[in-house]
Symmetry: C2
């Protein structure tokens, strides 16, 4: 038994899958009708990583096909939450920017999540989360570097 048991990986990925489901559901309960987690992910990415990303930047960051990103962005653009401008450095691509409405919506969603975070803070030991975070990051990086390619 020189290998970690396959069931260990299975269990970890299984738990992660369920947690992803549950946390996504919570997030989506705090989003306006018609918008879902990927829309939030884009608003959040533009705020944190910086506006002026290209669609492909974000597709790669989220590991989704570029066609999915096109679709997600079109939903955001239709609601005036982002706007796109041509990329002066590359005639094929676009740069994506938040509108004021987009920035405001992201802030509102995060603010409305405060009670959920409070519940978590009260009911769950934050130290444990702090302990697993670096391992999760490491695992994410490992998987990211070893992915076959989408």
């Amino acid at each position: 038994m020189q290998n970690p048991e396959p069931p260990l990986f299975f269990q970890v990925f299984n738990e992660i899958g369920i947690i992803e489901q549950l946390s996504r559901t919570i997030l989506e309960e705090h989003m306006p009708k018609g918008l879902i987690a990927p829309h939030f992910a884009v608003l959040n990415h533009l705020t944190r990583v910086g506006e002026g990303s290209t669609p492909m930047d974000m597709a790669r960051a989220f590991q989704v096909p570029k066609t999915s990103m096109t679709h997600t962005l079109s939903g955001l653009e239709a609601r005036n939450l982002v706007e796109t401008r041509p990329n002066p450095k590359d005639g094929r691509s676009k740069l994506v920017w938040l509108t004021d409405a987009g920035r405001a919506l992201r802030a509102d969603i995060i603010a409305s999540l405060a009670p959920e975070f409070a519940k978590l803070s009260n009911g769950f030991d934050g130290d444990k989360l702090a302990q697993i975070l670096p391992v999760l990051s490491e695992l994410r990086v490992f998987l990211d570097e070893n992915r076959s390619g989408k």
Copy 2:
């Protein structure tokens, strides 16, 4: 600062979301065309938890709407990977059973994942996974118990 920083939760859920994406992609690369992760989840559930589950049992276990489960099962049934029988205890519901083909497919998929697990074993410290697993389970249970309801 009596609260754990909201960013901590954010980061944890963010990493979990990305890991879920990446691990799901790996799994689906090892599945026959037309079948995706939810199909595997059902085959796996029936094997582990026991055959003869109802669709609602599984919808709850996976935290998906029952309509999604109907759809997933119909895909499996169309390929003769599961079969359903009436529930003798409840005229409204069905019981789901694996076919031999379903059992075989699950086994084949798991077997074909062995190289991926080997890569993980070699490149990633199994002890770290063992350490985070109980925290993930705890977090999953906490979220599960506190969910608003779907």
